[in-house]
């Protein structure tokens, strides 16, 4: 019985790994239209800059209250860690989103 359970869960693991969509955080998206992407980025630059400032503000206001800033956090785990911090520090949804834009732009 336990062998069946083990095999089932291992098969689920393999299935999950094969079915996983490629995440944005797994690496930079290959630019199919680099010129369009650059144009979009330049239009969004002022808004992105403001958003990054807000995120940095949330970071320096909240995170450092308890611990030193974490360095070198891989982008693929940033969302998970910020969720964990949102629970611990009772952050708002807006602060969470600002943090994510700052830590994983």
């Amino acid at each position: 019985m336990r062998h069946i359970l083990l095999c089932t869960c291992l098969l689920l693991s393999c299935g999950g790994m094969l079915a996983a969509p490629s995440s944005k955080a797994s690496g930079p998206q290959q630019a199919a239209e680099p010129s369009k992407q650059a144009a979009d980025q330049s239009k969004q630059a002022p808004a992105s800059s403001a958003q990054a400032d807000r995120g940095e503000q949330v970071f320096t206001t909240n995170c450092v209250r308890c611990h030193t800033p974490p360095g070198g956090m891989p982008q693929r785990v940033t969302g998970t860690i910020v969720m964990h911090m949102r629970v611990r520090a009772r952050l708002s949804r807006e602060d969470e989103q600002a943090l994510l834009r700052f830590l994983a732009p």
């Binding site: 693929r76 964990h84 009772r90």
Partner: protein, 351 residues
């Protein structure tokens, strides 16, 4: 009763499921590249302690498992493995001891919205600021806990059952947060908890980075007692000063602790010394009704000074000296060691 092999198989199966499920659930936001990958994080370290001539060796590791299901549900758990070794005959002889294992928390969080995060499972009791925020080895500035740390945090500092927490109101200049919980009694080994209910509320002023809060807890078993804490935390902007203070009251005693920490991170200081953090703590405890219940039975005061050195952002050397004063005798307390914070993604990066 499960056999050891069945238990191992069950643990492996559970881990395999958790590794698999995030791959089936996507969680992407439009304006960031943050991933929601399960990981193991946490802290580890080693502290050697000398207390009144008695040496203790305390290795410790606290892995934290974080498994998100989308961007609104998080499964998280932390286990503590702490070794405690002393001389066979207190001050001489070979070292002997054991490793203590505790499930500090194992909970499921539903991040519903800004105002409500629903938690169920075994959770850290939100009483005061030490238990939930400052207790991890890689966070705390001084390795010895305050004398009053056990007020409101009996039975491993955890409760079992439901908890709600979140933001009551948020404005540019301030925000108000809350926590409310109910804990069921449990006498399962390593998962003990008391029957109690309580809550916490705090105000945070963002510009001065000043927080003030209050915790209340009612124990609903044995001697039904009230526990109360009031705390302040302040990190003035443009400085590297960290000030914290807490007053705790229980049926068995009351006391306070004040702690300040200063990181020498100023441009006029040579780079080598900018990683130094100086810490000081003063505390006092007065027993009531004879004390006990993991609290001292006599008046006690203690002064600690510490020096920490951040080798890297996740690796530091820690050291402290404390002097404890009580009617049963004064004692010198020394600590020296290191702490390390680690992060281990459980999902490979895709190329």
């Amino acid at each position: 009763m499960l056999t050891r092999l069945t238990k191992s198989g069950l643990y492996l199966a559970i881990v395999a499921c958790f590794v698999a499920l995030p791959g089936l659930v996507s969680a992407q936001e439009a304006d960031n590249h943050a991933g929601h990958i399960p990981l193991i994080s946490g802290g580890m370290g080693y502290v050697q302690n000398w207390n009144g001539g008695v040496t203790s060796l305390e290795p410790q590791i606290n892995p934290v498992l974080l498994v998100p299901f989308g961007s609104h549900v998080l499964l998280e758990s932390r286990v503590d493995f702490t070794g405690f070794f002393q001389h066979e005959h207190q001050t001489y002889g070979s070292f002997t001891g054991k490793v203590f294992k505790t499930v500090e928390f194992a909970q499921v969080d539903w991040l519903a919205n800004t105002h409500a995060i629903a938690t169920f499972g075994r959770y850290l009791l939100p009483f005061g600021i030490y238990n939930e925020r400052l207790q991890p080895i890689w966070i705390k500035n001084l390795q010895d806990s305050p004398i009053t740390a056990t007020i409101g945090t009996r039975s491993g500092g955890a409760g079992t059952g439901p908890m709600a927490r979140g933001v009551i109101v948020q404005r540019p200049s301030y925000s108000a947060q809350y926590s409310a919980y109910y804990s069921m009694p449990s006498d399962v080994e390593q998962l003990q908890s008391l029957k109690l209910a309580g809550g916490d509320g705090s105000l945070f002023w963002s510009k001065p980075r000043l927080e003030a809060g209050d915790s209340y807890q009612r124990v609903l078993q044995d001697r039904h007692i009230n526990n109360v804490a009031a705390y302040v935390s302040w990190q003035p902007r443009d400085t590297h000063i960290d000030l914290k203070a807490e007053y705790d009251y229980s049926y068995y005693g009351n006391g306070y602790w004040l702690e300040s920490a200063y990181l020498l991170d100023r441009p006029e200081i040579p780079a080598l010394f900018r990683r130094i953090q100086m810490v000081g703590r003063v505390q006092q405890f007065v027993p009531l009704h004879g004390g006990g219940n993991s609290l001292p039975r006599v008046n006690q005061q203690r002064l600690d000074v510490g020096l920490n050195y951040n080798l890297r952002d996740n690796l530091r050397m820690v050291s402290s000296y404390g002097r404890s004063f009580s009617s049963t005798g004064d004692a010198n307390v020394w600590n020296i060691g290191f702490t390390y914070r680690f992060t281990l993604p459980l999902w490979p990066e895709r190329k």
